[in-house]
């Protein structure tokens, strides 16, 4: 138990020292994380600073290689689970929950939604009895809601975001409130309420920018671009997507830049510029496949089939549909995409 201000300050200094000691090792670990998962764990790695630094590294890797992110997150989880008892119980539980959340996010980026939910179950259990970690529970709730939204389980997702909202507001956590707004907008968007979605995305931009969270700002612009295109407002769509692309490029987030490229292609499709859409979607699909994001690649394929059908390239559309269905089946991906493709295959 940390029972006085001096002990508290000593612990803070210790954590900072651990973080500094971990920093030079992280780049080496991230370059080949799978090898480190199968090698003995050096005792010097069993620090909270190392576990937390690896969680951060896993998050960064999401935007370059979700597969590598998963290995880094698993390494973080192994370290967090093996932390010595000399750390306060609460910090160990918190580190474990954060590491399992990183595992869940890496699964989600690879469209393994059931795996993501299971990893979040582990994270939830680690902090279930920690009264002081309410904001961590809310953050895990938001991560679960994000996953459920992608699985089209929208009612469950909405319940969870409502629960999380109060906690973030009470804590005056602008970054989390902005992320909550973003997710709420995405759920409304999926429900087909484009007006509510656009309003929510607009509410994200200011607070996220104030909190210095450029990733969320760019995500909001990207989604706003898509929602505006869905509403037929092409000028707003193009302007928003330009903003999103510029920020993601600045942040060097490959996966997210590809998502924006997909949004641009979708806008071209909605505007009836089919040849341009096909050209863009080819690149998007290739990039998603290279990044191991099979579901996104498949869904971009669905858009491309739509464009091919619009240009009367039925043979190419049928061939692509078969190819994409097979990819979805191999990856055991969601029913929504399979249904969409089955429908297209009948055409």
């Amino acid at each position: 138990m940390i029972g006085d201000p001096k002990a508290f300050a000593r612990l803070a200094a210790q954590l900072e020292a651990e973080r500094a000691a971990a920093a030079p090792m992280i780049a080496k670990i991230v370059s080949e994380p799978e090898r480190h998962l199968d090698a003995p764990m050096p005792p010097a790695w069993r620090t909270l600073g190392m576990a937390n630094a690896l969680c951060d590294a896993a998050r960064e890797q999401l935007f370059h290689s979700p597969e590598r992110s998963l290995y880094v997150a698993q390494l973080a989880a192994a370290i967090a689970e093996a932390l010595p008892d000399s750390y306060p119980r609460l910090l160990r539980a918190q580190a474990q929950a954060h590491a399992w959340k990183a595992v869940a996010t890496a699964h989600r980026f690879q469209s393994r939604h059931e795996s993501a939910l299971r990893a979040l179950d582990v994270a939830d259990r680690r902090i279930a009895n920690e009264a002081a970690l309410g904001i961590d529970r809310a953050t895990l709730g938001l991560a679960r809601a994000t996953t459920l939204r992608e699985m089209n389980r929208l009612a469950e997702a909405l319940l969870l975001v409502d629960e999380a909202r109060e906690v973030f507001r009470h804590h005056r956590d602008r970054k989390q409130v902005a992320q909550w707004e973003l997710l709420t907008g995405m759920i409304h968007h999926r429900l087909g309420d484009v007006v509510a979605a656009r309003q929510a995305y607009m509410r994200v931009i200011g607070p996220a920018r104030d909190a210095g969270d450029l990733h969320t700002v760019a995500a909001a612009y990207n989604n706003l671009g898509r929602a505006a295109a869905d509403a037929g407002d092409m000028n707003t769509s193009v302007a928003a997507l330009r903003q999103a692309r510029a920020i993601f490029r600045e942040l060097e987030m490959t996966t997210e830049s590809t998502r924006v490229a997909w949004s641009v292609a979708a806008t071209q499709l909605a505007a009836g510029r089919f040849d341009m859409a096909i050209q863009l979607l080819q690149d998007v699909r290739r990039d998603f496949l290279q990044l191991g994001m099979s579901e996104e690649a498949g869904l971009a394929g669905v858009d491309m089939i739509e464009a091919l059908l619009a240009t009367n390239a039925r043979t190419a559309a049928r061939e692509l549909a078969g190819e994409v269905v097979e990819e979805f089946r191999r990856a055991a991906l969601n029913e929504r995409a399979l249904q969409a493709l089955s429908f297209l295959q009948e055409m």
Binding site: F8, L15, D56, G134
Partner: protein, 172 residues
């Protein structure tokens, strides 16, 4: 997670000073507003500061954050307390049935925990999920992002590895 734990949390305040400045306030809120016993309120306040330690750089309004955190923690404490039955005022004081075999099970559990710290990180995760958390093999395959067949093999191999290293005292 952002961890910039530091004696100076980047806002011009020493964490020790923030602790001293707010500690009584947080304990007071837990005791007066939520009727939490003094000793438990102090524990909650300490835990709130531990959480703050890691989050301090991202916190805009420290006082509001700390108050929100102690309120949430107090509510969680009360919810948990509501689920526990108080002991009868008089009469026998039966032991928790879960502890009946504690003398037999604790050494095994401690040995298992120590053994599970010796193999590779991947094996540590697989063994913990299987034997400490009680997940099934298909669940472990899901969590680790692999096939059921590979997870089965992995667990068998990891058990051997843990046993060898535990008996041999190496690998740590």
């Amino acid at each position: 997670m952002v961890l910039h734990a530091s004696a100076d949390v980047g806002t011009g305040h020493d964490v020790g000073a923030i602790y001293e400045e707010h500690y009584d306030l947080l304990v007071g809120i837990a005791v007066s507003r939520f009727r939490i016993p003094q000793a438990d309120a102090e524990t909650l306040a300490h835990e709130v500061f531990l959480d703050f330690l890691l989050r301090a750089p991202g916190v805009n309004d420290q006082r509001a954050w700390l108050i929100a955190c102690i309120c949430n923690a107090s509510k969680h404490y009360l919810r948990t307390a509501q689920r526990t039955e108080p002991l009868p005022e008089a009469g026998p004081d039966p032991a928790d049935p879960r502890s009946a075999r504690a003398v037999d099970t604790w050494p095994d559990e401690l040995a298992a925990r120590e053994a599970f710290e010796r193999p590779t990180p991947r094996c540590q995760l697989a063994l913990r999920l299987r034997y400490l958390d009680g997940h099934t093999v298909p669940e472990i395959a899901d969590i680790l992002g692999t096939t059921k067949r590979y997870a089965t093999k992995l667990i068998g191999r990891c058990l051997d590895q843990a046993q060898r290293r535990y008996v041999g005292g190496g690998g740590k």
